[in-house]
Symmetry: D4
Subunit: 256 residues, 8 copies
């Protein structure tokens, strides 16, 4: 059933051709989603005001370029994640105003409308070692594309606490903290003990041997003794930033 | 939104107080499920014609007795699974017409209406060893309560193929076969190679050491080299029988 | 012992050279399978009426082409699965009437006899995301080659329920549903709650990090709270379709 | 080094007995935490304004009662989690104004000062089945004790979507959603697709066989296809509520 | 089909009522196993000359006593393994000539015929620590009941090689060695390097923490750098002895 | 301490320069192994009379060729396993009398002395599917090189029992059976139920998805319900054959 | 071969009845360990000067009391670990000079000789939470019984760094640090970054859900980003202290 | 806060512009680490006197060369581990005095100052098979670069104990033993039983099938029955040597 079909039913009620109770019976099983069918693709974006996101892993360059272009034509901001180098180059060639971040493996497009917008909330992105940077940058670029201010804290692993403690004052200014760490994944617990805001932990696949591709860091973070820590999938900088932006926005509005 | 609310909107359209397109906008987000809210509890049962099922594990005796009675009063057949002995005795005391199967840990109630019904489909329940009987009986009782004919094949493990091969002719008469096995879980593959109907495999927690509570049997069944095998959770005789009954009914109707 | 040998024994009985009880003793340990030895290869196919299947993974192009040709010459339908591109091209070159589906990685051959046959049963193939398409297409092509009608429902993941709910009416027409999903593998539970027929769930290896190559989706599906769900191995679209076709045929005959 | 020692150093500087650069050298390695040593216990509570929390598992009744009393005397609100029945009864006997929630296994004490306070933020606590209630109630009681408004949505598992969809309007009013589910853990993905706020997922140990004590639900949630989902440890209703309250407060302030 | 049925067919051939080729067609699908059906229970025992074995775990005392008595009446030797104390006492009370070994959790019955028999082969049972004795004794008692000579080597773990090396000469006399070890499971590798006969390794559930109930010992034994080591399930002293006896017998005959 | 040193001590005793009890004290800590140091490399081969084996995986072509040549010069038979194609070609080029089996990935050299030897024992090598052939051939070639007669049974998986049952008579002639199977690893249980000799099970890495590289087959075999089954590492055809040869030899001598 | 036998050989050499080279051949395979057989039990203790240790888990009270008494009579110090309460009470009753530590589950006996000895080395025992105390106390008591000075640092988990940092100066005085932690196991990494001596990490089984009985802490510690961390088994306070004492002694001697 | 800021505060105290108690309040939250910020990078090296270490895995050749050069300019010794061949060649080309060890994958630079230093402590590096050499050499080179004497014991696996026992005297001279082993990882237990010093065990990824990339060796070592064994991550020769050097130094000083 389409919107047209619904209007037809309602029109019949208006004309008296259909009784309300008859219409109610028809509508009881209404696949109402069909009404919004053409909006489904943009449903999340419209509701949250956040850009459209393309997860490029497993898509061909052609598919990614086509989807990117289709979304961009609709005037919404677009963020492509996990973009292979070849695909990224094709995107930037096709849409020169798009920005490629090779470390984060992202290509972002912000329309002039959106990019004129004010900054909404402050996300800290903390990263244990330089090897964790791909996940951390994916988080940082996502948060920036989604309109948040981002402060990066790099290479502040727990084996040298001085580096983290030295940044505590800066860290305390953020509305929410994304922490990326591999190996033993201890950093979110330490950061969680220093701040009074939510911490989103991103285990990374950095490590070898008994790191089991990030599973050890993941398990460590889930067992954090700091109660303000929640966790996303291994290397999922995007997901961490998505939740972080929702939190930062709410916090930001409250600080105005 | 309730049915009353829907009728009110439609009434306003009928009276001309609301334009069709205005009503359409309101209905676009209509939580239509509320209309059917009072049917939710019996939704699956009504649609499939199968009895209501109570998973008694984790429920108190009082809760189980109360729910059982409530469903029974609605005239539907009721099957309670994973019923502890104490709870089973309370159920049978409260509803003497209910049947308790201690091995299967089930209590079943079939109304006179349903129990007069014809048998619909034929389910074979095959079981590798006597220790697998609890899962097998749960499957058998479920299938019988749901109206299928059940033939049991017990203690036909693969280490003594003669026993299974001797029953082949009988086995070939079933519309679908449920196979319960623990330890290495090899029986579904062998049965799958003998029959031409779907096989639902139930790994059981029977075993010790590297059986890991049934995980080994589960993994073995998922890797079956017989293509007509699908698998349910460890010890889930109920779930296997549920799918089996749906299959047997369809097959049965086609054999009439 | 060969058929000739059996005939010799029976001939001796006929001639009175051997007493029935003596012959019985000899036949008690009769490796009767030897009689049917040359039919072994076609045993399953003859019994079920389904095509021969070649699992091409791990076979050389030469081996696959040879087996395909041998089966085809016997007049049976043939389906090769997990066919690498190079092998597929060799098959189509050798047997131009065969059909290659690159997404499904299948090559199918249907004889004029079989393809004239009527459609037997209706299988819905539902797929959570575009990345799940290889498994879904393997299921769809298998079901079609085996003579079923197939309806595809693509990209209806649980994070956007509208898309699935909008297709509910179509979905309800199927005799059985195959559901392919990776990541958290939640789709079979949701579909299982919407339909009244068996659901065969196919976990896919789509995902990263804690998806552990499909193990997470597999475990999720095995724990489905919908009782009409059974599960096959990761990415095993073929196996799901095999069981689904057996179910759909039975259902179909019953609907005639 | 104590506060007295620090004052002594500073006094020496004031008197000119120590040069600033000499004092700086001494202070460079200052274990400044000693200064705040007696505040350590209340550090988190003072900073966040949230109650003190006692994790009672693994503590004796005597220890728990003593710690509870000590904290209460300091005038702060107190929440004890994972409280065994015997311990809970001892707590309520000792501190009659404390509230015991047997399902949540919590004992909470709110001082008259704090309990007069306004509600700060709105947390939805969603729960797949009645067996998930202990984790859900732990989350709900925690959030309430921490000053948030809580709305509970119980028994809305994905196998019967009608129940959840019927509550969508209510759900959309929350600032943050805590979702508790065992078995396949699919509910957070579905809820995440319906709302535009952060979702904190709590896998529960509800299930059997291949649920592996909640590991399956945990893995499923970590692989959620909804990007606004983050996850805490199995059965960790407290931790989910802790993060949720921090989010809800920020959101709440912004809505004023 | 029964033996009677077969005789009937053969009788018809004898009488000329059935042609040999017609009988051959019928017999091609003959479920010949039915002929031997009543021998199934004693099939393995009769073929190998080894005693009947009852795996008592999961059987009630009544069931175990009944089966034990039934087998004993047939004149065969009987070995019951994994016998709970209560059941063992009932067995010995019912059959005073049976022998209960509490450490091995076995009850054995050897008929006067069999026990008069000669010793057939020599099995060494080696055990790393005193905690491994239950598995080792299960192996030793099994081998003895099955007619082998057994030499025990106890408490010869690899952390004190002197103890093992001091027994090397004795060890070299065995036809096969069963090695039981928990924790890191290193002993089979060391023993395998000292002897020139097959080693059957039994991982035991002895250990704590990362021994994971014997899984660590199991994995270690499977990775043994000694090529003459094969492995059975955790704590499966019976299975190890079963294979060992088969090997020792063959070796023994060859030494005569 | 060297042999020279030992002789010196004994010489001193002979000369009366050292008292027996003084010499005993010195010898108590004698590292006697040093005496045999130069024989260590050939120790196992000399003791068992079996060929030297080179595990070529992880060795360079140069290293493998050098070791092979060194052993060959000592007049012993040599078997190299896991030989990459390039290395195999180099070996055959260097030692034209060596035999390369590409499927088994072996290169074997038997001296004229040894190859004239009689066959010692009979090993059956059974294999579930053609994909399991590499492990099966490694076992077969190993057993042949070690002097056993080998009978191969290929493609007799449990999904088509006819094929295996048809070979039962042949199978019963072997002194020991090596069974190679991947996927669910059910074949050793079935074979174990048919024969009265030891079965050495080789799980193979054949399979996909939940076969987890052979772990599922491994676990299945360890849980075999046939008591005469023991297991070696995944794909370890060599190890299985090594134990099998030791068993077959003992059996063979006994059959003379 | 016994000492007597050795003396006999040497006597024959002395008498000229045996030539040195003949004796050398006999001694080449001498199981010299037999000479020291009665010293085996005290071998480790004599060599290291450390007390004898009884691992009481899995031993009966009677066995433990008997072994304890036997060792004590030999004049060596004795430490029993993992002692159940009942056994501990029996030990203290039998040997009143023994000391029972219920938290550590140890019973220790130090002879007047040994206890007069000087302190040898300084071991710090650090513990993340009060629930980790059993493992920490087992380590502390072990180190003290073995003659080391022990300093305890309790409840200094990483979620509140102030507590640990405040103790840094004290911590720096130790020769080696044992760190016990459950949950995410992050503390050894942080401690390892603060000190310049070896850290022995003890994962504890403290935690729930995804702590998997201490496996998460174990994995985290193995992946520590501090290079001076090595790890022992879960809850193995004894083993950590054993290595720590060996290290502390060496360090201590060097500090004299 | 910087050192300048601290001096300013202290200056204000000196001038009387700030009271000591006011300054104390400010300093209570002093991020004192900032004072030492520029020393952070060399903190560990300065404190321990050990060289700087670069973990080159995951760094580009350019990055590694730049960091190496920067550290070298500071006059400290430098050790780069896990260096790919291409990077190693670039390092040696840039810094010809650096030493490349291809087997260990290390590049080391020792300044003339440090290399003149005396040897401090004696580390034995024991290795089960030649395939374990990369980890063993990483350990040996690390220990040598850090100033220890290293003795290597290669190819002394437990399947041929003679080789290890023959080296016992040499082994007993070391202050600490690093043992590298793959497969079943049994060697550290055996070595631990022979020596009276700490053993650091390094599981290696050598093996196949159920070695699971070194996890089996890791688990085996953690369950060692020798109490003087502690363990590091799979293939972590560097970490083992780091702890070993700290131990050897302490021991060495004590032996002077």
């Amino acid at each position: 059933m389409t919107a047209a079909a619904l209007l037809q039913i309602l029109g019949e009620v208006e004309r008296g051709a259909l009784k309300p109770h008859e219409a109610a019976a028809k509508l009881a099983t209404l696949p109402f989603e069909d009404l919004g069918h053409t909006r489904v693709d943009h449903h999340r974006s419209l509701r949250t005001g956040l850009p459209e996101v393309i997860y490029a892993a497993g898509k061909t360059t052609e598919q990614t370029v086509a989807i990117f272009g289709s979304l961009r034509r609709d005037g919404v901001d677009v963020l492509a994640t996990r973009v292979a180098l070849e695909t990224a180059e094709a995107l930037v060639k096709a849409y020169p105003e798009a920005t490629h971040n090779p470390l984060a493996r992202t290509v972002a497009y912000r329309s002039s409308t959106s990019s004129s917008g004010e900054i909404r909330g402050h996300v800290a992105v903390v990263c244990a070692g330089t090897s964790d940077l791909p996940a951390a940058e994916e988080a940082a670029v996502t948060a920036e594309t989604f309109g948040a201010k981002v402060t990066r804290f790099t290479d502040v692993g727990v084996a040298g606490l001085h580096r983290l403690l030295a940044s505590r004052d800066e860290l305390l200014k953020a509305d929410v903290v994304v922490v990326c760490a591999g190996m033993e994944g201890a950093l979110p617990s330490v950061v969680g003990g220093l701040v009074a805001v939510p911490v989103i932990a991103v285990p990374t696949s950095v490590g070898y041997g008994a790191s089991f591709g990030g599973a050890t860091a993941l398990l460590g973070m889930l067992n954090s003794c700091s109660p303000n820590v929640s966790v996303v999938n291994i290397d999922n900088g995007f997901g961490a930033a998505y939740s972080a932006v929702l939190i930062a926005r709410a916090s930001h509005r409250s600080n105005v």
